[in-house]
């Protein structure tokens, strides 16, 4: 599918390295990551002595003191506090509200990727069951555990009444939001969209990835010969997309595919990943040599990194690439949006981030993985996100001066 370029008028990301763009840019420039060693009794589940896990996490500081406005208090849970915190950085709410005023509320969609939603809140409610096994009366399912709670809260905050839904395809969730928004614009159903992703730390994902023996005992080292698995983080990111506007960067294409291989292991040759990347380029009307930087999925598991290498090798030659998960960990349902924003910052600021924590590159990794940051102007960037269920999504962004077609 070819689609017309979509303007990216604003974006913002909040992760373990801090709130908003200035914190993210500082961390990238100074090569200072936000990971810390997991301790059993953590902020996100402080009422218990949690499992003993030998791993590192990327925790967003200060979520305990975030208060949602009174009228949205039913939405209160870690995931929605993080969504609220992330939404209110970089003047994003004001910019999004201006788009609602410009186009009318019903012409602005809200599409949010999440995999955890408020599961941590449900974990807590189960611990607080009464003697008959009932959940506390205060537990509000629709506004916490259900995946729709984050997009509903964001839509309330912005005042948008266009199509509002969550995409939940594990770690590709918040990359696919770009494709869904672009399609609604192409069908002239909407003029603008708030897309984003939010995922928060919880025992379900920590214990689940531990069971899969994928948690690294050290901060994750993507593409390192001695890499030992993922570290899990939490984060929130949002972007304002407009069908007809001028902006520093544009969504040029998106490609989605399925591995059709295994629920939790990537296709060994990266078949689905390659289809996603080539589909994204095709939809942008670009060839691989137009791309100056690839933000890799690069989880640092034994299986992802070589599979992604084979996929990248099948599409690109020696395009500069890196995995930025060493800064803020694997953000699961928020990985797609936050890493897209990292790629957008590379495009807008002329600074390609390297790969943090990695020192000894595995020969079985993509051709030109940057370890150090590099100052370089690029015109087109691509970001990869792959998830459980073999769900893959690649998105392509470009600068104004490389728009392949003229905007009206």
């Amino acid at each position: 599918m070819r689609f017309d370029p979509v303007a990216i008028s604003a974006h913002t990301a909040t992760t373990a390295v801090g709130r908003g763009h200035s914190a993210l840019l500082d961390a990238l420039r100074t090569r200072c990551g936000g990971l810390k060693r997991y301790q059993a009794c953590r902020d996100f589940a402080s009422d218990i002595n949690g499992p003993a896990l030998d791993t590192w996490i990327g925790e967003v500081e200060g979520l305990r003191s975030i208060t949602l406005p009174q009228q949205w208090s039913r939405y209160d849970c870690r995931n929605n506090r993080l969504a609220w915190l992330g939404l209110h950085q970089d003047e994003f709410v004001a910019k999004a509200r201006a788009a609602v005023a410009r186009y009318g509320a019903a012409r602005v969609a809200v599409i949010i990727g999440t995999s955890t939603s408020g599961i941590a809140h449900a974990e807590g409610a189960y611990r607080a069951r009464d003697s008959e096994g009932r959940l506390p009366e205060s537990f509000s399912y629709s506004t916490t555990l259900n995946n729709f709670s984050a997009p509903a809260l964001v839509a309330h905050a912005i005042g948008a009444t266009g199509p509002t839904f969550a995409i939940s395809t594990a770690c590709s969730s918040s990359a696919k939001v770009f494709a869904a928004a672009a399609r609604l614009m192409q069908a002239d159903w909407i003029d603008a969209a708030i897309v984003g992703g939010v995922d928060s730390l919880c025992l379900t994902t920590l214990c689940g990835f531990s069971a899969l023996e994928l948690l690294s005992p050290l901060p994750c080292r993507p593409f390192d010969r001695a890499r030992s698995g993922i570290s899990i983080g939490e984060g929130a990111g949002f972007a304002l997309l407009e069908a007809r506007a001028q902006a520093p960067a544009y969504l040029l294409g998106a490609g989605e595919s399925s591995d059709a291989h295994h629920m939790s292991t990537p296709h060994p040759d990266g078949l689905g990943a390659r289809l996603a990347m080539s589909g994204a380029l095709e939809s942008a009307g670009l060839t691989a040599d137009a791309v100056g930087y690839v933000n890799l999925h690069g989880t640092a598991t034994r299986s992802n990194d070589p599979a992604e290498r084979r996929a990248v090798a099948g599409v690109f030659g020696s395009t500069a690439s890196s995995s930025t998960k060493g800064w803020f960990d694997h953000l699961l349902g928020a990985a797609g949006i936050v890493e897209s924003i990292v790629a957008l910052l590379a495009l807008e600021r002329g600074m390609l981030p390297g790969t943090l924590n990695t020192t000894d590159l595995d020969p079985d990794c993509p051709n030109n993985v940057l370890l150090d940051n590099e100052a370089r102007d690029v015109d087109v960037v691509l970001s990869n996100s792959f998830g459980f269920g073999g769900s893959n999504c690649s998105v392509v962004f470009g600068r104004e001066n490389r728009r392949p077609r003229t905007l009206s």
Partner: protein, 260 residues
């Protein structure tokens, strides 16, 4: 182009069509186990009940449309996802048992059904999985229609919702297990069952289309997937009709149905 349905007493479209058009009464009955042969035996054991009913409806719709599934992108929609797995994991963690099995963990993701589906039919096409609480079905319908038009190809839509076990069942009551599937294609592609037109023009206070059968109407209100049954009732009847579905944010989605 194709229709699939799996709910108590309505296990396929040929039977459901007579009930939904009003020529036969709705009799709630336990169905035989979902009949989908898409999953190999080993995967069928690992798959959740959600995945099994979703794939049953998906297979019906694809067969009805006479399509090769490997060529069809798919949109899965569910409010609850895998409610039994979410309950199991929360109960285990609350009991201090942190040894979640790998299968249970990968079955906990909202896109488990769509993942099993793409593996089962060996499709490398895009599949997505979305949620909008009680408006999940109209969100999936809109996404499917928009994908079909954008890619100029038939697209499969599958919605499914099952009840939560106690105690989540009290916080989120859900009636029965339902799966509904449609194959939507750009207007020029045949053979068509009906032509649908989606319109964002209804007055915000326009009422949802209700079902005349009292039992089915209570199911419609009690299961997010069944909220799309009025569209299936319109497809079961001759003549032009208009259906209003309620989106997750309360905004109505108007669907014009013109049977062929």
């Amino acid at each position: 182009m194709g229709i699939g349905i799996y709910g108590p007493g309505l296990a396929d479209w040929s039977g459901a069509r007579r009930v939904l058009s009003g020529t036969a009464p709705y009799v709630r009955a336990d169905n035989a186990a979902p009949a989908s042969s898409l999953l190999p035996a080993a995967e069928r054991r690992r798959a959740t009940p959600s995945t099994r009913i979703a794939l049953t409806a998906a297979q019906q719709a694809l067969t009805h449309a006479r399509l090769d599934a490997t060529d069809v992108p798919a949109v899965f929609g569910s409010s609850s996802g895998n409610p039994d797995i979410i309950h199991d994991i929360c109960a285990m963690l609350a009991a201090g048992d942190y040894q979640i099995s790998p299968t249970k963990f990968h079955n906990s993701v909202h896109n488990a059904a769509s993942g099993y589906y793409s593996i089962a039919v060996a499709s490398h096409r895009a599949v997505t999985s979305l949620c909008a609480l009680d408006g999940t079905a109209p969100a999936a319908l809109l996404e499917t229609a928009v994908q079909a038009i954008a890619a100029q190809t038939p697209v499969l839509m599958v919605c499914y919702d099952l009840p939560y076990p106690f105690p989540l069942s009290e916080a989120r009551p859900t009636i029965d297990a339902w799966a509904l599937a449609l194959v939507l294609a750009p207007a020029a592609l045949e053979p068509a069952v009906a032509h649908l037109t989606l319109i964002d023009g209804a007055e915000p206070q326009a009422a949802d289309t209700a079902l005349t059968d009292i039992a089915l109407e209570s199911i419609r209100l009690g299961n997010p997937t069944a909220r799309m049954l009025p569209l299936f009732a319109a497809l079961a009847q001759p003549g032009l009709s208009e259906v209003v579905l309620r989106q997750g944010n309360g905004r109505p989605l108007q669907v014009m149905v013109a049977p062929c």
